[in-house]
């Protein structure tokens, strides 16, 4: 099997990302912002879903919370958008702690569907408590003249998430999360602090999406409950990670690139066809390539594997294996 150098890919992507705003058109920048937002969402979901094995359908909860926190800050007090995004990130972390503590008591599919319910409930709250959130009318923000600063912010966050994932993949912490995914009870009885780690991963998966939610509201110049808690966002995020490879470093990147193109081509004009297609892609991925693009052609099994660097590190330490 050909070995593709992950560093090379990341490097190339990084260079493209850096120079895009200067040479690309406004459309390219706009498309890239969406891609970067999805990238961040995918990498965040990958932490709790891919590595820790607590897959769920409520990622958009924190995206929406961030969107509203950011929008309200900007709308009422004219907070600069980047500050609003940072505060939104805090809000995401702060809400994730109690929510995680409660929801993570559920196992497997219950957790997944419970989180889905959470997202729907938050959407209902956003709609219902309209004295605070303007309800169905939505919040209108001053449109931004230049998208490029937004792009750099999103790119920076995406780069951070990528780097964090890479570090995690090659660390013992990453192994502990994987152990939780593989067999939580066994991990627990061998001394791994599963509750603490689960909540940590969950909170970590909430921070960046909250910031991106706020950014998204600024990007659109508008936010309302169906937009903030859109099922489109949830579905696309999950499909990206599964298609690319759950619990890997490059998986979310691959998935994000593939699905962003599909998104761009179909979403604006044929939203139902887009959503049905992504559903179809997800279904086919589950049936035929559940380990993702990154692991095409590797040994059969249900989940993706990564961590080549870790193995090289270990080989360096003792005898060659």
């Amino acid at each position: 099997m050909r070995k593709i150098n992950p560093l090379g890919i990341a490097g190339a992507a990084g260079i493209v990302a850096l120079f895009l705003p200067s040479v690309g058109s406004d459309y390219a920048v706009s498309f890239s912002i969406q891609l970067l937002i999805f990238l961040v969402l995918a990498y965040s979901w990958n932490l709790i879903g891919g590595y820790t094995g607590y897959t769920h359908f409520g990622q958009v909860s924190f995206f929406g919370i961030g969107a509203y926190v950011g929008s309200l800050l900007i709308f009422h007090w004219d907070v600069p958008w980047y500050l609003a995004a940072v505060v939104a990130a805090f809000a995401g972390a702060v809400t994730a702690i109690p929510l995680g503590g409660a929801m993570l008591r559920l196992k497997g599919p219950f957790f997944a569907v419970g989180m889905f319910g959470l997202a729907r409930v938050l959407e209902a709250f956003a709609l219902g408590f309209d004295s605070i959130t303007q309800g169905g009318t939505g919040i209108y923000l001053k449109p931004v003249s230049d998208l490029r600063p937004l792009y750099y912010f999103a790119a920076a966050v995406a780069a951070i998430m990528l780097l964090l994932t890479w570090k995690l993949d090659n660390s013992r912490l990453g192994l502990k999360l994987l152990a939780i995914r593989e067999d939580e009870d066994a991990a627990e009885s061998l001394g791994i602090p599963t509750t603490r780690l689960k909540i940590g991963a969950f909170v970590a998966s909430a921070i960046a999406p909250a910031a991106m939610g706020s950014l998204y509201a600024v990007y659109l110049g508008f936010i309302d409950p169906p937009t903030a808690f859109a099922s489109n966002i949830e579905l696309t995020t999950i499909a990206m990670v599964l298609l690319g490879g759950m619990g890997t470093v490059l998986g979310p990147l691959c998935g994000a690139v593939v699905l962003s193109v599909v998104n761009e081509v179909l979403w604006a004009n044929y939203p139902q066809i887009y959503l049905a297609s992504v559903g179809g892609i997800l279904l086919l991925a589950v049936l035929f390539m559940p380990r993702g693009i990154v692991n095409l052609g590797t040994k059969s099994g249900w989940l993706a594997v990564g961590r080549p660097l870790f193995r090289r590190l270990a080989a360096r330490h003792g005898q060659a294996s």
Binding site: T55, F110, L283, L287
Partner: protein, 287 residues
């Protein structure tokens, strides 16, 4: 506060929830699959009913018979094409698969029927006097049918040979296969039956409520809440919890508006999960 009205309204609503939750519970109990698409099947069944009654101008009872059968066939198809292939996989895979399926169904529904609301005016219209309150005929009939079918399926599970087979596959698949039960056929039958129940629930919902393609995702959460509160794997628990939650939703909506009222169910579900995960009558969650 119009107590009797809210109470009865809630119970009537609960009947439909019961039918839906029981189907979901059955599928989960036997196959350990959480059928995310369950609600969307209900929605499509409801929309099909409207098409049959309004579009093809056929009597309502035609839909009552045809739609659940169609849903059962569809369920069998899904089982063969999708669920059977992922039987050995981690639970999350079947969840992802049904989630994907749900998305496909919702959007196909929107493409076929449009995203707006429809209804069945004129079918089972009018009202009936019950305990001194005016109750809409359609809701009463829905309730009666839904509860009736739920109880009928319960009887099926408890007292027939098929039901015994289902229960043994649910509790101990390895033992069941040794004792000669065709597990695959039982699973297929159960999934088709559960899907048919969702279909029937959809037909019964059509004359009583305003329906749109997104109905499914609203219902699935409620069905889930019902199952959790009633206790996973407990059929009578699901029926009881459905009626209870119907009342809670109606009362909650009365005080806080429809939107937040339905959120109450989820909050109750969360409370149950944290305080008494077994639910009312459940025997504990065997994940």
């Amino acid at each position: 506060m119009p107590v009797a009205e809210l109470l009865i309204g809630g119970i009537l609503l609960g009947g439909v929830y019961a039918l839906m939750a029981c189907g979901l519970n059955l599928i989960f109990g036997v196959m350990r699959v959480i059928n995310f698409a369950h609600g969307d099947i209900l929605a499509i069944a409801a929309l099909s009913t409207v098409s049959i009654a309004v579009g093809f101008k056929l009597p309502f009872w035609v839909a009552v018979v045809v739609v659940p059968i169609g849903c059962a066939a569809f369920g069998a198809l899904i089982h063969v094409l999708v669920l059977r292939r992922i039987e050995g996989a981690p639970l999350i895979m079947s969840l992802l698969a049904t989630y994907a399926l749900s998305t496909i169904l919702v959007n196909v529904a929107i493409l076929i029927w449009g995203g707006g609301y429809s209804g069945l005016p004129g079918v089972l219209s009018g009202s009936v006097r019950l305990f001194g309150i005016n109750v809409s005929t359609s809701r009463l009939v829905s309730f009666a049918c839904a509860l009736g079918v739920s109880l009928a399926v319960w009887w099926l599970l408890e007292f027939t040979r098929f039901g015994r087979a289902v229960r043994s596959v649910s509790r101990a698949p390895e033992l069941a296969s040794i004792s000669g039960i065709a597990i695959e056929r039982v699973r297929l039958a159960v999934f088709a039956l559960g899907t048919a129940m969702a279909g029937l629930a959809g037909v019964l919902v059509a004359p009583a409520f305003a329906i749109d393609p997104q109905l499914g995702s609203r219902f699935i959460i409620k069905a889930f809440a019902v199952i959790i509160v009633g206790g996973m794997g407990s059929y009578p628990g699901a029926i009881l919890a459905a009626l209870l939650l119907g009342v809670i939703e109606v009362v909650g909506s009365y005080f806080a508006g429809a939107v937040i009222g339905s959120a109450f169910l989820f909050l109750l579900m969360l409370a149950v999960l944290l305080i008494r995960p077994r639910g009312l009558l459940g025997a504990g969650i065997r994940a």
